[in-house]
């Protein structure tokens, strides 16, 4: 079975500052990893995904994430945040090799941007 841990429930940062949202996963098999963003009163939107290949993945809105197999981590980063990045961010994992694979989400990190 897979699991996801997001270490920070809230991350406050100043506008134009860099940010890192941490995510660790647990799995006995190879997995795909995702970051989703949820704006207030909206559904989840995919930011980026890691399937295989290059460990540095670039997504929408200037976000990127790095897959680290030895540390079982998939941290999300942005070099300079904007007020519009205020949202909840969810890390998720899925094993593509199971006939009943399902997407498992972390508990989320609320990113708040201060002007």
């Amino acid at each position: 079975a897979q699991s996801v841990t997001q270490l920070d429930s809230q991350v406050p940062v100043f506008e134009e500052a860099p940010v890192e949202l941490r995510c660790n996963y647990s799995s006995s098999v190879s997995v795909y990893l995702f970051w989703y963003v949820q704006y207030p009163n909206q559904g989840l939107q995919l930011l980026l995904k890691y399937l295989s290949g290059s460990t540095l993945v670039k997504g929408i809105n200037g976000f990127e994430a790095e897959f680290n197999k030895s540390q079982t981590s998939f941290h999300l980063r942005k070099p300079s945040v904007h007020i519009s990045d205020t949202a909840e961010y969810f890390c998720a994992v899925i094993s593509p090799y199971s006939s009943a694979s399902k997407i498992i989400f972390g508990s989320g990190t609320r990113l708040s941007i201060r002007p």
């Binding site: 996801v4 997001q6 795909y32 995702f34 989703y36 009163n41 909206q42 559904g43 989840l44 939107q45 995919l46 995904k49 399937l51 969810f90 899925i94 094993s95 593509p96 090799y97 199971s98 006939s99 009943a100 694979s101 399902k102 997407i103 498992i104 989400f105 972390g106 508990s107 989320g108």
Partner: protein, 114 residues
């Protein structure tokens, strides 16, 4: 391409009443998911369909929750009777197949049980 459609967007009911949510996935998507997202938590999978068959319903409270996906397209999720702790956002998602590289989410239905 049209996205995942859900209705209603908001619903307020009294405890012990029943309620139903509707989801129309992206055309051609074989896999459909229902997630429950309680305030301050990540989405939790309730049930997963592959076409019109159930793949996983291990976390569905079957004494009060039921779901169906007739003809492998639209799906409905029902709660009967509702409890206060059922207050949450119910998210529907679809993907082209099980284990696919991306699931697409609807905007969700916010249920408040009073």
């Amino acid at each position: 391409e049209a996205g995942v459609a859900q209705s209603p967007r908001y619903k307020i009911i009294e405890k012990r009443q029943s309620v139903a949510f509707w989801c129309n996935p992206i055309s051609g998507h074989a896999t459909l998911y229902w997630y429950q997202q309680i305030l301050g938590q990540g989405p939790k999978l309730l049930i997963q369909f592959q076409n019109n068959g159930v793949v996983d319903d291990s976390q569905l409270p079957k004494d009060r929750f039921s779901a169906e996906r007739l003809k492998g397209v639209d799906s409905t999720l029902k709660i009967q009777p509702a409890k206060l702790e059922d207050s949450a956002v119910y998210l529907c998602a679809s993907s082209s197949q099980t284990g696919a590289t991306e699931a697409f989410f609807g905007q969700g239905t916010r249920l408040t049980v009073v």
